[in-house]
Symmetry: C2
DNA sequence: CTAGGACCTCTAGCGGCTAGAGGAGCAAGA
DNA sequence: TCTTGCTCCTCTAGCCGCTAGAGGTCCTAG
């Protein structure tokens, strides 16, 4: 990032947080773990961010929103920094994440069915015959697939 | 728990772990946070678990597998201990969890669509025009709903 | 010139475990 | 009997991705 032609519009960490949607302490945390380069400081020791930093933050935030893990984001950021490379690597990160997401959807869908079954069996009864408790207590009554 | 009529078949923590599917350190951790009562010990200071404890552990494990949070499990365990109560409370815990699960499924499904779109746009191209990076860098190009 | 914000660093905490150190007990074979 | 090797014990620290708080500095508006 940090496109040469782009104007250097230095902003405070608070402004960067507002624009990128990443909270102030989280920005500092990202700097600490090396996800974001340490920005220049003012005379008064305040961090100043330019448009490139903000783009990077927005990128990170969006990737996090999409559920990418830090490691994946690091890879994506590295790829982003080197636009001459083939996108095969970025693709494979995204594909791996997609597979994970699909698996989670499947698991949650099975879970939903089981919860509905539990709740259905529990209508207006007394706890003695409550399916919620029963299903949880006795694994055999349950169709849920364990990971 | 610890039904009076049930035979007291004391087992070691390792055996309890094997039977319940909860790992040994996790059992100790549950005891520490008060989710599981401290069991009696042998002369040699080893924990001994009876059938009731194992049922409780299995219950916890199953509820965790279903994605219930510790607080919900605590409630369910309390309800299970008092079977004279109406199941309304257990029902509402399960319902709340179901709503959450449905929400997560919806979010993940949207995410899946977006990932597929990203990957689709990325086929065999060079990174310069890679949609994965683009979509992540520019929020405007993205349909994902932020939580 | 002062009040109140925004910023700084540093440390500790969250949930829900997991890993490791360093030691004691216990069962079975030589 | 001794020894090997397994399980168990306690205790502390670490994992992720932040978040919260203390205690201080800087900057800006009135």
């Amino acid at each position: 990032m940090r496109t040469v032609s782009e104007p250097r519009s230095d902003v405070s960490i608070g402004e960067a947080a507002r624009v990128s949607g990443v909270k102030v302490p989280t920005i500092r945390y990202y700097e600490q773990i090396g996800l974001l380069p340490a920005p220049p400081r003012t005379e008064g020791n305040r961090r100043t961010y330019d448009a490139g930093d903000i783009a990077r933050l927005t990128f990170i935030r969006h990737a996090r929103d999409l559920g990418f893990e830090m490691d994946g984001i690091r890879t994506l950021l590295a790829l982003q920094a080197d636009p001459t490379q083939s996108c095969a690597a970025a693709d494979s990160v995204a594909r791996a994440h997609l597979a994970e997401v699909e698996q989670r959807i499947a698991a949650l869908t099975a879970l939903k069915a089981e919860l509905e079954r539990m709740i259905e069996g529990c209508r207006h009864g007394r706890l003695a015959e409550c399916k919620v408790i029963e299903v949880l207590a006795d694994h055999g009554k349950c169709t849920h697939d364990h990971h």
